[in-house]
Symmetry: C2
Subunit: 146 residues, 2 copies
DNA sequence: TCCATGTAGACAAGTTGCTTGTCCATGTAG
DNA sequence: CTACATGGACAAGCAACTTGTCTACATGGA
């Protein structure tokens, strides 16, 4: 019954730890001017074909908030704005080499953060865990803040 | 290999959805002046024996931030400050009836948010999932923001 | 082709939840 | 009882987000 409550608390606690550890490791790798929220932006931009408005929807924030975030990432050299091939109003967002480097650092940090859990559960149960969670796969915006 | 990345993304996405749905439901129940961060405070205060400093550590924020949050909850009638029996500096935090009502509403909302996932996986696998996550049980502060 | 409506993005101002800095009263260890 | 630590409050500042408004361009219908 109250497993539902336990489950909620566990998921929230795990995600908090994940974010915290990934951010700390990415900072240690030299990307000290990046915050966790930027990671969610990188994820969308690296996927390709993203405009500022797309990013806003992905992050679940207003267009203005996304525009400010993009402006910051451009200023810091992680992102460039290119003209959109079919829409003169829009600008396509792309990661720079530095942006890709930060993305790789975050991926690696995620692997390292998960590694001890993987070991704790053993490979077989970890695979089941991933499979279970995948079946609950959510769609829609990823909300980096609450 | 990259299951670690998948796992991270899934946990983050799930927790985002959870927070979002619980908050929406709690608002619909009439607690429109509460934000998700308050839930983490309620969790610690309902546990008992909490001072503002305890709360700050639990939430992973500064004492001043916790004090402001407590002040807001007191003003809105969810929390009262009582003198501490053994420390004249400190004040014990307690939930009011309204605070308990909000806590119950959040618990119920969590159950409802998890219910479809529980059904999707089936009771047996859901139990395994909870068991696995419990083994990864984190300690330390719950960080409601990043 | 022209017009009405919708959308991408920028500029500006305001809100808010958090921070740092400082202070006092009380507790605690030597 | 002296030195230092801790709980909490007051004040000011900051940073990420919001709402509101505007221009340029896109799109669909008459």
């Amino acid at each position: 019954m109250d497993d539902a409550l336990t489950f909620s608390a566990l998921v929230l606690a795990l995600s908090g730890r994940l974010v915290q550890e990934i951010h700390a490791q990415v900072s240690r790798q030299g990307f000290e001017d990046l915050r966790p929220a930027h990671g969610f932006a990188f994820a969308r931009i690296s996927f390709g074909g993203a405009t500022t408005a797309d990013l806003a929807e992905h992050l679940g924030v207003t267009k203005q908030a996304a525009a400010q975030l993009v402006e910051e990432l451009v200023r810091k050299g992680y992102v460039v704005r290119r003209p959109h091939p079919r829409d003169a109003r829009a600008r396509l967002l792309e990661l720079t080499d530095e942006g890709w480097a930060a993305t790789r650092a975050a991926d690696q940090a995620a692997r390292e953060a998960v590694a001890p859990w993987r070991e704790e559960l053993g490979e077989a149960r970890f695979q089941e865990l991933v499979a279970d969670l995948t079946r609950l796969a959510p769609q829609g915006p990823i909300r980096p803040a609450w």
